[in-house]
């Protein structure tokens, strides 16, 4: 893992309104936030630096959230945030790399609590 810290949170979502609004909420809460529009973008960015929390959508073009997790040997704290459930084969293959899973729409308060918990876990 690259030692350069890109941001506190990397928000990966192909849906621009979601990506930008989530980023805005996190920034307002004081976090530094980087954004990626799909899985491949996210992997490229993680080549150049690290983040504390990876906020990851599942269904995306180029690389899905699951593929991103499969590509990363030791990912940062991952919070999956998707319109689909995280279960079955996906959960069995990469479940151990996931900190938590939130179903969209996620209440912003809950999102902030989850991010806080992930960062606290890293610090611990």
């Amino acid at each position: 893992m690259n030692s350069v810290l890109l941001a506190d949170v990397l928000v990966v979502d192909d849906e621009e309104p979601i990506r930008t609004s989530v980023a805005q909420i996190l920034r307002s809460a004081g976090y530094s936030v980087a954004e990626a529009a799909d899985g491949q973008d996210a992997l490229d960015m993680l080549e150049s630096g690290s983040v504390s929390v990876l906020l990851l959508d599942i269904r995306m073009p180029r690389r899905t959230g699951i593929e991103v997790l499969q590509a990363l040997d030791s990912p940062p704290n991952v919070i999956l945030m998707s319109a689909y459930r995280f279960e079955g084969e996906d959960k069995r293959s990469v479940g151990h790399k996931v900190f938590s899973h939130l179903m969209k729409p996620v209440a912003p308060r809950q999102l902030l609590d989850e991010v806080r918990a992930a960062i606290d876990r890293e610090d611990a």
Binding site: E15, P17, I18, S21, V22, Q24, I25, S28, A83, Y84, R85, E87, G88, M103, K104, P105, V106, A107, P108
Partner: protein
Amino acid sequence: MNRRWIPSPVSLLIGAIIVLLSVGGYFLLQHNVDQQETSLLVSNTTDAGETASYALDGVITGLTSTADVVQLTNASPTQFLDYVGLSKSSEVLIRKVGDHYVVVASPIPAFQPGETLTGPALATVQLARGKEGVSGPVTTNGKLSNARFAVQVPPAPSGLYVYQQLAIPTHINLASVIGQAFSNLDAALYGPGPVRSANLLLSSTMKLPLASPTASTKVRIGGSNWTLVANARTPFVSGLASSGPLILLVMGLFIALIVGLTVETVQRRHRYAQALVDERTADLNASLRELKETQDALVRQERLSAVGEMASVIGHELRNPLAAVTNALFIVRGDLGEDLSQNAEKYLSMAERETSKAAVLADDLTAFVRPRELVNSEIDVPDLVDEVLSATPQPEHVQVDVEVAPCSLVGDRGQLAEVLTNLVTNAYQAMPDGGTVRLGAFCSNGSATFTVEDTGDGIQDDEMQRIFEPFFTTKNSGTGLGLAIVQRLVQAHGGQISLENAATGGVRATVVLPVKKKVTT
């Protein structure tokens, strides 16, 4: 099919008609034959009587001739004897002397001149009146019969009589007397007076009186009547004619049997075929019904599946915009800070509230088609019920009666809580004016049973049929997905749910779940 031999009414009727016709025909034909027989017997007997009359008339004629001779010869005994001697006759000349009748001349030793007549001979002569000959009483000893004849010598009253007595065997071959033409007759000839054995002159048989049927005819002998009684030795109506009635009867019965059996066979085949057709028709109808039901179920399934698929897609597609709107509202509220106008606050809250509702709907739409994977654990039933009731605050005026037996089952706690919450919420909503909810839970025979019963107005029968259909609702507000999802969740646990109108008038929901022992994740 019934295999017992019960003839059909039609074959019985046809058989009976033919039997009746043949019996009737038998009697009709037999009557005809009898009539013909009687008629032939009568005509034969009459003919025989006439023939006998002709044959015996010779005797009277002989007597009359002799009387003429006696008149012509002035009653000379010598000339009388000469005359009867020539004709080899046994006639006797009688003269009435006072009250006595005395033999004047006789060619036979049985009567001697000067002898006074007595007995039948006297009776015979006393009968003679005028020139007409008469016959007197007949006597018989059973082997030999005596016939007596007499005629008065003219001119009357001359006081002179010619008398003749003939002895003949009682039983003779009649044919030799009255001809071969009557060989078929048995006959008996009786002298003047009644028909009785003492009066029998001759007969062709020893068996007297003759067996019925008999015919009788008068045989005229001079001024006297004899009686000829006859019957047929063998029927006059012979051969096919006489056996016709019997043949008709036998054939009629036979035909009745054959026709009856044929009709019966045809009837039976018809009945069998009909039964077969009925059976096949019933089978076919049952198959058609089954097919229709299966088709309906398939169509329904297909429709539900399509509806569900669409619901799922919509549910998912709603999630992203909802997420964006939720975030946007959060940001806006943050930017606006605490100093919101009353109006702005009102509508911002409304937007947040309605977005939350839309999020719940999206959850329901998704959950309906693809229930979440079961996360099984051992669940304490009373504990589960407590959790549900505390998470579902009861409305005012609603009383909750809980009767839960301590037991446990294995299942997805979250999903089962959702099931019970849904049912309890429905019960609350069914009683807007208050009432009682009875919640029961117990375990027995490897299954856990939950019942939720309200005292609301119940559900109409036609609505009850569709109550588990997605998007079907009896409420004014609601997606109609609640019970559809509940049913999915219960079925995912291998259980069953049913709804019915309770005796109280409300609705009773019953959920039966297997109490699995193995915990799987």
